[in-house]
Structure formats: C-alpha cells, structure tokens
C-alpha cells in the first residue's frame, strides 16, 4: 500500500508498476513538463502526470491503457522529429517500446537546430541540438542545488531554448563550473569536454 502523500509514480514503483519518465529526476523538483508519465485517473477530464499527482484512496488509475499510450507515443514521435536523440538511449528504448514513428511528420518537419556545438570553456560543451528542454540543468543551476543562475531560457513555444544571459559564453556568466548540469543532462546536450573531444577523435593528452 502506498504511503500517504505519495505521488502516483512513487506508489506505482512500490507496487512494481513501471511508468516511463523523461524530465523527472529523483533528486530534483518535479515540473511535469514532458508529460510522458501521464496516466488516466477515472473522473479526471485530462490525463494526469504521475510524477506530481498525489495518490488518493480508492482512486482508479490506468497507467498503460490505450489513451495513455497514444499520448506517450505522440509526444515521443514529436520529440524525436524535433531533437537529435542519438545519444539518449533511454529515449530510444521508449520510442521502440511505444512503436513511435517520428518520420510520420515528413522529412521537412521543423527541427530545433542551434548551430555548432558551443565549446567556450575548459570543462564542458553544450550541444543544444540534443536538448529536450527537460529543465534539469536550469533547476540545478538555480534553486534546486547551486543558486548560481547562469542558465535560463530564450524564446518561447517551439523555439524555446536553454541560454545564458544574452547568450554570453560560459566564462562570462555567473557559472562556477560545478558540473551539476552536466551530471543531470539525459541526452548528451551537456557533456564533459574530454568526452566530447574523444568522440571527435581528438588525441587526449594528460590534463
């Protein structure tokens, strides 16, 4: 039995039921932005996000019915048609599991492309073509961990992106190079510079 105050996600886990998540991270504030964890709560007009919705006694919840699976599949399809997920194995697994077909929107569907990888500091690189806007990096940089406030947002809607203050290079921001953002990035949009250079085939010398 789920403990009082538990989320649907926590309750499901303790019952051995898997609910997929993307933006959710065990140690960060849940913002329910990806909506992959939505479930059907009988009586609710819309689906509800399992990562934040609190379980209630006698609630009838479907974690894997047709309505839920359609929403998850379509979100995954739209995401994969927009973002480079080549270094996001967990998302690749989900795409396969839900039978998602990102090509249904056509080869001319707009993708979010941000130009060359940003290599502007000795510690990590930023490859925003791979960014899924899960918000984790912004959160660890702000109130969830570091209170550094180096990262924020550009644009809105489909054209939202993660950005520094007026797109300045990292060394010109408040960034303290704690590395937390790299640690929580799920898609390889943020990665260590050595790892990046190694993948580029550059020789790695002593640091």
């Amino acid at each position: 039995m789920a403990s009082p105050g538990a989320t649907i996600l926590e309750a499901a886990r303790s019952a051995g039921i898997t609910i997929p998540t993307v933006c959710y991270h065990d140690h960060l504030t849940a913002n329910a932005v990806c909506r992959i964890c939505v479930v059907e709560w009988m009586g609710s007009r819309t689906l509800v996000p399992a990562c934040v919705a609190k379980i209630q006694p006698n609630a009838r919840i479907y974690t894997d019915n047709e309505r839920v699976r359609t929403a998850r599949r379509v979100i995954l399809e739209m995401l994969a048609a927009t973002v480079d997920l080549s270094e996001a194995p967990e998302l690749q697994t989900l795409l396969a599991e839900y039978g998602a077909d990102p090509h249904r929107f056509g080869s001319d569907a707009a993708r979010r492309e941000h130009g060359p990888v940003k290599v502007d500091n000795p510690f990590y690189v930023r490859d925003y073509d791979k960014c899924i806007l899960c918000w984790r990096c912004v959160q660890v940089c702000a109130e969830d961990v570091q209170f550094t406030f180096a990262l924020g947002f550009n644009g809105r809607g489909f054209e939202t992106s993660i950005a520094t203050f007026f797109d300045r290079p990292m060394p010109e921001t408040t960034c303290v190079f704690c590395g937390n953002c790299v640690g929580v990035c799920p898609t390889g949009a943020l990665k260590g510079k050595r790892e990046y250079l190694a993948a580029q085939g550059a020789p790695i010398g002593p640091r």
Binding site: T46, V74, I75, T82, G106, A110, G157
Partner: protein, 420 residues
C-alpha cells in the same frame, strides 16, 4: 422580451475620466450597499446567484470568493484583464468606457474576501484601457475610495494596475501570477489552486473583468433579479463579442442563453458577404466552430455543452459561405504556434506540428497520414497539456474539419466551396 442592459449601461453616457459622472450615474452605490451587507452576506449572495466566470472557464465565482474569504491573510484579489482570446473585445470596451466600475467591483471583492492588496492585469496592447483604469485608480486614491479606512468602514485596500507584455498565455490565471511576480508566463501545475496558493503563494481570488462587473448589479438589485435573467443553470447578463461577416459587428449585452439566431439577425443585422451563413466560431481560437443547424441553441455554458461547443469568453464570429476557411484555419494554427509558452511538450511540439499540417492543408498538399496525425496531435494536446492553451489548441481546427464537410481528397470544405 426587452432586456435592460446593466453592464454596458454607462458606456458612452459618461465621461470615463470623471468620478463625478460615475457617481451621478449610480457609481459606488453598490459598494455602499456591500458595506451594509457585510462580507459574509456578499459571498453568500454570489454563491446563490451561481455567477459563472465570464473569462472562458465558467468556474463559479462564489466558490472562489468563499474559499479565499475563509483563508488566512495576506491574500489578494486580481482582475484578469489580459483579454487576448482572438475575437474578444468586451473587457477592453468596459475598461475604456466605464473604468471606475472595475475599481468599485475590485473594492467589493476585496471587502468580501478580506484582501488588502489587489491588481488589475491589463493586456499590454490596450494602451487606452490601461491609461483610463490607471486614471480611475489614481482618482479613487485621491477621493478616499482606495487606501486606508475606506468609506470610514475600517477596511483598507491598495490597488495596482499592471501592464502585460504581449503573451496570450498570461490570461491563464497561474501564468498571470508568474507574470506579476516577474517571471516568464509559464502556467503552474494545479493543484494547488489559486484560492489556496495563488499570487506570491497566497490565497487569491482572480476573476475576469466582466465577471467582476456582474457583481455590481447583483449587489444593487439582488438575487431574484439576477436569477430572473437567462437560464437557471447559468443565470445573469452576458456580453457577446459579435464580429466577422455580420452587418453590425459589436458588443452585445443580452441575457445569458440568447440564441445565435437572435445575435446574428437581430443584433448583427444579418450575414454579410455572400449573405448565406457558413458557420460560427464560438469561444474564439480556443473554441469550436458550429454550423447553421445550431442557430437556435441557447448560448450559455450548459446549453453549448449539448452540441460539443463552448461559450468561452463570449466570442461569436460569423463566417459566410464565401470565406476561405483554409486561410482561417491557417491563422488559428499560426496563433497557437506563436503563443504556446513552451513549458510542456504536448503543446510546445504539438502546436508546431499542427501548424505544419494545417499549412499543407491550406496549400492543398495534404499527405496521406496527415489528418490522422492532426487528430492524434489534437488528442494528445487536449489530454496531456498542462493548461487550457494546449488543451484547446486543436478544438477549432478539428471542429472545422468535422463540421464543414472537409474532403480529404480534394482539400475542399464543401460548405465554403463557392469561391474555388
């Protein structure tokens, strides 16, 4: 039956900059009456009147007021004047023509729920409304209607006018809180609801301008009068924003539950353009299209549910049969793509994909699978988006496809086929 307008009665008859004019035309009598009644009685009156929110969501105002009246201070009252739903112009006309009425209604709300601070959040593209409401607020401070110990009744209320900055999403109440707090207009997760955790994390009443203005005649004329207007399940006066292909577009005040036929032919002087009615968009871009078969349905919250339509903010936009429906749908899709805040994936991605497919539809280049994708995107946005923007971003487009005889093979809307 003849209906005597109350919400628009002063429009054009008084100088909107003159407190004297406002008082001479019955202004601040409702506040005086409210002070006599006391906070509890006002909240009860609102609950019994079953005044439903006029901004689009149709939530009972009395439930909000009661919850906040029983919550601990500090608490806030907010007028949601971020009117941005395409086709909606009622609140602008009220604020431009009768700005003191909004201040008076805010005073009653604050008095009833025990709030000492309020905000009027007005859309940034309404410079004249902002100027007039700001002038009314300043004048009321000077006249002792705002500030400390108002009317000698021992209550205090400070009221601030806030200017929006070009974001449709900020009409969503929690995004509006974020905006006042100095952030991007990202809607919050609900629960918690504003009555418990609203502006600055405190209990907050937030109502649409028209909803607030309904309180004035309700307090003055009483429950029986209010309930005598319109249908039992959603009583009271209603403002309809009549626009598009009618001979006389404009703001119509009529009883809730007036029919489309009355609005279009009696108030609007009939259909212009081809003269033949093709369809009507109810509720704006976030609403749905209905057809001439629906002319006699009662335009109220409950009545429209019977035909899978919504009243929303009272938009009644008329389309004659000569209209290029594809160009209309392109604009709706473009609007949502432009106004999605980008917080949740279904809407951030879905409004873009929807726009791409609708552009193909408009260009006569639909691909096989496009319509299925459009429906699935719509269902996903409706089911899984955080807020009303994403949840309603596909409704108008899908209703046009379903109700206007869209032919996938020819790319035509049979009902609007006279031109091509």
């Amino acid at each position: 039956m003849t209906y005597q307008p109350v919400l628009t009665a002063r429009l054009g008859k008084i100088d909107p900059a003159s407190l004297q004019d406002y008082e001479a035309a019955g202004g601040f009598q409702a506040l005086a009456r409210a002070v006599e009644l006391g906070p509890k009685a006002i909240v009860e009156l609102l609950r019994e009147a079953y005044l439903l929110g006029r901004g689009g969501a149709a939530f009972p105002a009395g439930i909000k007021w009661k919850a906040v009246s029983e919550a601990p201070a500090p608490k806030y009252v907010i007028a949601n004047a971020d009117e941005s739903e395409p086709g909606t112009f009622k609140d602008r006309i009220l604020m431009e023509g009768d700005p003191f009425a909004l201040v008076e209604a805010m005073l009653i709300a604050a008095f009833a729920v025990g709030a000492e601070q309020g905000y009027i959040y007005i859309r940034g593209e309404y410079p004249q409304a902002i100027a007039r409401v700001q002038h009314a607020v300043n004048t009321c401070y000077n006249a002792g209607y705002l500030g400390r110990n108002i009317l000698g009744a021992g209550f205090h209320f400070d009221l601030e006018v806030r200017k929006g900055a070009g974001a449709y999403i900020c009409g969503e109440e929690t995004a509006l809180f974020e905006s006042i707090e100095g952030k991007r207009g990202f809607p919050r997760l609900k629960p918690p609801f504003p009555t418990e955790c609203g502006l600055f994390g405190r209990p907050t009443v937030i109502n649409n301008v028209e909803t607030l203005l309904c309180v004035l005649p309700l307090v003055l004329r009483g429950l029986d009068w209010f309930k005598s207007i319109g249908p039992e399940k959603s009583p009271g006066p209603k403002l309809y924003c009549l626009s598009g292909r009618v001979h006389r577009p404009g703001l119509v005040e009529a009883p809730m539950g007036t029919t489309l036929r009355t609005l279009i032919y009696d108030y609007g002087g009939g259909v212009s353009g081809s003269g033949e009615l093709g369809g009507v968009l109810l509720g704006g871009a976030a609403g749905v299209f209905v057809t001439p078969e629906h002319l006699d349905v009662s335009l109220d919250f409950a009545g429209l549910r019977t035909i899978d339509a919504v009243l929303g903010s009272g938009v009644v936009m008329v389309f004659d049969t000569s209209v290029d429906m594809k160009a209309v749908l392109r604009r709706i899709a473009r609007f949502f793509r432009h106004e999605s805040c980008g917080k949740c994936y279904p809407c951030q991605l879905g409004t873009q994909r929807q726009h791409e497919i609708v552009e193909r539809l408009a260009a006569g280049r639909l691909r096989s699978g496009d319509l299925l994708a459009l429906r699935e995107i719509g269902q996903t946005m409706r089911d899984a988006s955080i807020c009303g923007l994403g949840q309603t971003a596909s409704g108008a487009i899908l209703s046009a496809i379903d109700r206007f005889g869209f032919d996938e093979h020819t790319g035509r809307f049979l009902r609007f086929d006279s031109n091509w």
